[in-house]
Symmetry: none
Subunit: 250 residues, 2 copies
């Protein structure tokens, strides 16, 4: 019974007491589900603060060397798709989530030649805290175990939660918090307005807008308008919905 599999394997993943434990538990889980390999990736503590990254996998060493050596993560479509999806996805369906550049296609094909033919990736994120994904991969001459994808979805999520716990990251120490007016200015800046336009919109002087954005940049310890916007967006102070003003119907 598949659900018993979730509970059994899930327990060993959630109670792992070390990264090595987790490696072992995930390797067994991947095998039991009918996959050949796994990879768990965690980016911890992104945003204005620096954090750490964690990578646990049993990919071929040849591929791992190439991947890390040439920083292929930068052109890995799987990783990027993982940040645009709420649910797990098969690698065949990546194009439904994100467009692929030529470089990314190359990275994907290179992986395939190293034996990473098809896979199922489970994304799980906490804004301002962690960006995680867990992939289960099949090799040559094998197709994804479709009946097991639901199990993979659960186990992948558990693996990410477990890795986050093991990494000892207690969350971001302190959000840079903006005042209401600062946030207003950042929001309108994100909407593409100039300082002068913002001043007309908010009914305050041009110099005041400059001052608010100056203060906001300082709080985020950055010198760039674009970075300020990105930090505020990542922290959830503003959102794409705010920026593009899309209306959600009820």
């Amino acid at each position: 019974m598949r659900l018993a599999l979730v509970e059994l394997l899930g327990d060993s993943i959630l109670t792992a007491s070390s990264i090595d434990d987790l490696h072992e538990a995930l390797a067994r889980a991947a095998g039991d589900m009918g996959f050949d390999r796994f990879a768990l990736s965690l980016e911890i503590g992104c945003g204005a603060d620096s954090g750490a990254s964690l990578l646990v996998h049993d990919y071929p060493a040849s591929w791992a060397d190439v991947y890390i050596g040439f920083n292929l993560a930068a052109t890995d479509p799987v990783r990027r798709a993982a940040e645009r999806s709420v649910l797990g996805f098969g690698w065949q369906n990546i194009l439904d989530l994100v467009p692929m550049t030529d470089m990314e296609r190359t990275t994907f094909e290179t992986g395939r030649r190293h034996g990473l033919v098809d896979g199922f990736t489970v994304p799980r994120h906490l804004p301002g805290d962690v960006i995680g994904s867990c992939s289960f991969v099949t090799g040559l001459g094998k197709s994804l175990p479709h009946a097991m994808l639901i199990v993979a979805e659960m186990l992948g999520a558990m693996a990410i939660a477990s890795a986050r716990r093991l990494s000892g990251w207690a969350g971001r120490p302190g959000h840079a918090k903006l005042t209401d007016r600062q946030r207003d200015c950042v929001l309108w800046a994100a909407r593409g307005k100039t300082d002068w336009e913002i001043s007309r919109i908010l009914g305050i002087s041009h110099e005041t807008v400059i001052q608010h954005l100056k203060d906001a940049r300082e709080r985020y310890d950055t010198h760039k308008r674009a970075s300020l916007i990105l930090y505020a967006l990542y922290d959830g102070l503003i959102s794409f919905a705010d920026i593009f003003r899309w209306r959600i119907r009820h």
Copy 2:
């Protein structure tokens, strides 16, 4: 068989063609799992002003009125825990995730008096995009259907994905495509580099970087560097991990 339940109910949730459809599917799912009620919340924007949100639920009207009227979301421990958890959690375990203030305890107790005694909440987030949670709730004299929590975890995630799609967030067609080089420049711009710094990093002339960004802006029909970055981010051409990762390594 419980996993068959996931597949059956999950299908009706994922294929819902309207919010009303989704409401109906979730109500049936909650009942079939042994819960009494459900609430699905999609948050777009943490700021109070235009922060669009989607709320689908079958909570008692009396509670909904109080919750919205007094803006209890601001002191709802369930909501706050949902922003700090990777996996679904039972309301009994909220204290493992976040400390609770007196006000939050009051909100929690008030909900309990309105018949929301215990619950299981599934969080699911996409940084810069959506903060979602789906709760399944039991009433008086009933305990959580523990065997069904895994099913709830899956169905809750599906409900969030479905609601996100229905709200018009997913499936935005017509991506402007950038060339590889344009994307490189946008990415480094998102990392807070000036045009001149980008030229040194990519080993090309300052003028060329300016040209690439000029072309990229034109493709997205914008006149602002920040907007260009946001569009590329929204379209999935670059990601938060792309933007922030390099910091982690150095």
